[in-house]
Amino acid sequence: MIETYIPWSVHETAPGVYDWGQIDDRKDIDAFMTLCEERGLWLMVRPGPLINAEMTDFGYPAWVLLDPAVQAKSAAGSLHLDAAWGLHPPRPFPVPSYASETFYEAAGGWFDAICPVIARHLAPDGCVVAVQSDNETTYLFHDKPYATDYSDASLDLYRRFLAYQYGAIEALNAAYGTSFRAFDEIDPPRDCEIASAVDLPWHLDWVAYKEFQIRWSVSRIARMLKDRGLGSVPIFHDVAYQETTPHDVGRLEAAPEIDWVGMNCYCNKEQYRTVATRARFLTGTTRLPFVPEFGCGLWSHHQRTFTPEEHEFVTLSAYMNGLKAINFYMLVERERWQGSPITRHGDFRPTYAPFYERLGLFLKKYPLWEFERQRDALLLLNYDIGRHVAALSTLHVAHADLLGLPDELFDVEIDLGLRWDPRAESDPNQPGSWLGQIGRELLSRSVDFDIADTHTDPARFGLYRVIYLQSVDFMDPADQTSLLRYVEQNGTLVVGPGMPTLDPLLKPCRVLAQALDAPGRARVGEGELIWVEPSAIPALLDELAAPAAFRAENQTVQLSVHTRGGQTLLFAANPTAITITTNLTFAGCRTLTGIWGPPGRVQGNGEVAVSVPAYTVRIWDVHEGAGA
């Protein structure tokens, strides 16, 4: 299966004027799809309207971008240029507002032209098996709440969002402590002006609106595609990298127009933790753990070109941690891209291509998407914490990123009377984070887990024996109720560092706390609710975590076990710069046959010694007994 963009600006060369190959034969998309069918290739297409791919103006026609009725606005009322956040050569362009009706009229014209071509090639008779609705829709990477979009169209959508949320202006006034006569009198915050809890609703609603605008626009574009005859194949979306606000992967995938949501991945070898987290998050959150852009090539202004060894380590790390589907993005190099295994002239790069040839053969023998990664725990990010941290931040201005300012300078420190610190808990990579400690403790026991957030479909919770919930003083009552139901139905919910007694607006709200109001344990229905403070985590996990089938004595080596029927694959990753030799321990006698890394067998009763070179993944086919 292959994937291609269909760039709007390349084909609609002037308003209403299209080149489908009659002027430049390279633009004959219909012939391309026919060729795919002749060659037996399935095809995913990404017709935009945004495609990025480092194209000039990201694939938007200039005449669309330059229409003032299309343009997004910053908090100061200026334009929002793409250059505000990120390096996008060769020249700046004004970012469109995804709330602009003029923008959708123009995009609709493009879809009117391209969708009939795609529709002629839909599977099963044709090659097209999936269509993407827009690309990385997130305010052109300037994703902080008070950066954008303050255009008239966006403010209108914001007010409609508030009207939908509150129903009546009196309800909003009660929440805000205001006396607005109508929703159209309300202006959003343009920076963090939170002085006390009273100011939270106004700010958190804006943060939630920024999430809503993304879901609303991606869903709308998906409907536009379906309305034009593309409804018989899945419609998907790709998130750039955001695992929290303004992206809400769980709720975006819950939209009826969207079949699944993936997340992109461009990682160097030192970013093993990012790769693992992303794969676990997609596994815990989405219907199909899929990376629509798994960087083979890199955009030309990426500062750390992948080495061939990085391609191997990062790809195997992604599979190891749960990915089921990967689009090897820019496998064939294109203008403004670099480091691809196949050049734009169709030649294999001698140092880069062999890994992909080898991987293809490996996946034929071991179809990893058919294997089940062994895990029984879910780490649950509290979506409300991310919203609070986003609302309590400042300096969302263009080009602040160029100055190399420390992250803490962007924080707004307000004493809201909270017992636990949302900011400290928000990033599990921080040493003091409760959820981070849980993750490290599990990994030190070679226990694997998935990651999701509290907006994930609650029906998925039942897949896990234990859920570890990141929690401070506040939490959405509906999310608490969903989790309480999980406990009642035989789940084990571990909460910390705090137990919520407030809702996100800091009003009293006791759902979980009704069942347990001090650190300890309580039976609830068929399950158990546990509130554990950081100091008690190791002892609890000694009791609670299921014993790993394989354990690495050197805890730096990461393990993952995948099974299919009676077949067991063991992955071991070394995410460090030095070779690690360690004992792997297990119950009984096992024979490990190397299927990636050095071939050959090792056999042991209770343990074997293995060596994992720096930044590599080894895979063994595991059999019970000796000499299998």
Binding site: V10, D24, R26, K27, M55, T56, A62, L65, L66, S74, A76, G77, S78, L79, L81, A83, A84, L87, P89, P90, R91, P92, F93, P94, S300, H301, H302, Q303, R304, T305, F306, T307, E333, R334, E335, R336, W337, Q338, G339, T343, R344, R349, T351, Y352, T394, L395, V397, A398, H399, A400, L402, L403, G404, L405, P406, E408, L409, D411, V412, E413
Partner: protein, 265 residues
């Protein structure tokens, strides 16, 4: 098909990895470097919002509530010896830079020219962003004006090539085609014919690369081949032209210029 005016193609991964560190535009704009121990004081027209030490995090012990003399404050704090650099930044200045930088679509500007304007906006308003020690006004003695002046003085159109060698291994092989003082095509030695692609640090290779440019690119204006050591020193030293002359005299660099082209960017 992608853009009629700008091509970036056939990028040899090794070259691109080795020039990656030059691509971050922030390093040419900010004062100081990421490794130094610094204090950042953020204020809103004098009211202190935040003070952050790059090693220890937020500093609430400094007793600064108002900033009335940003330069004096930065110098006083720096003189205390705790930090290698002290930054005092008015949030309103950053907001004004943001608004001004995005006032119009800027379609007439290339991205580097846009960033140059942003640089001017950050540093041209007295007391908006104060650093002690102040921004040096150059990056390793390179300035935007200096490079632009050199490019403007080239015969137009022209091609340039740079080859850097670590021993016998080519680590950087860059080719740029320029017209109207803008880079129109940037590529690497990967596109050269085999004899020029296998260049070594030698006078013969210099001529082969020159000939390859003559045959397949805009007329060559400058070709430089040098060792990695020379390249690193050339990037950092104040007297770029003098350094290359000295390196050429000892066979560590080879430079050929078209008639009338000055040696110093």
């Amino acid at each position: 098909m992608i853009d009629p005016h700008w091509q970036l193609v056939d990028l040899d991964p090794r070259t691109w990895r080795n020039i990656g560190r030059f691509i971050n535009p922030g390093q040419y704009i900010r004062a100081g470097n990421p490794d130094e121990h610094a204090l950042y004081v953020l204020h809103d027209d004098g009211r202190v919002l935040n003070a952050v030490d790059t090693k220890t995090g937020p500093r609430r012990d400094l007793g600064i509530e108002r900033v009335t003399d940003p330069t004096g404050l930065a110098e006083r704090l720096h003189a205390g010896g705790e930090w290698e650099r002290v930054h005092v930044i008015d949030r309103r200045h950053l907001a004004a830079v943001s608004a001004n930088a995005q006032a119009t679509p800027r379609r007439e500007l290339t991205l580097d020219a846009h960033y140059r304007k942003v640089y001017d906006m950050f540093w041209d308003r007295d007391e908006g962003y104060v650093a002690s020690p102040p921004h040096p006004g150059h990056w390793n003695h390179w300035t935007y004006a200096g490079i632009k002046g050199w490019v403007d003085a080239l015969p137009q159109p022209a091609s340039l090539a740079l080859g850097v060698f670590d021993g016998s291994e080519l680590t950087i092989g860059l080719i740029a085609e320029i017209s109207d003082s803008l880079i129109r095509r940037l590529t690497t030695f990967e596109v050269l014919p085999q004899d020029a692609r296998g260049a070594t640090l030698s006078a013969e290779s210099l001529e082969r690369v020159w000939d390859a440019l003559e045959a397949g690119f805009f007329p060559p204006a400058a070709v430089m081949l040098c060792s990695a050591t020379v390249f690193e020193a050339w990037i950092e030293c104040p007297d770029k032209a003098g350094y290359i002359r000295a390196a050429a005299a000892t066979g560590r660099a080879y430079l050929r210029l078209a008639d009338g082209v000055a040696p110093r960017p």
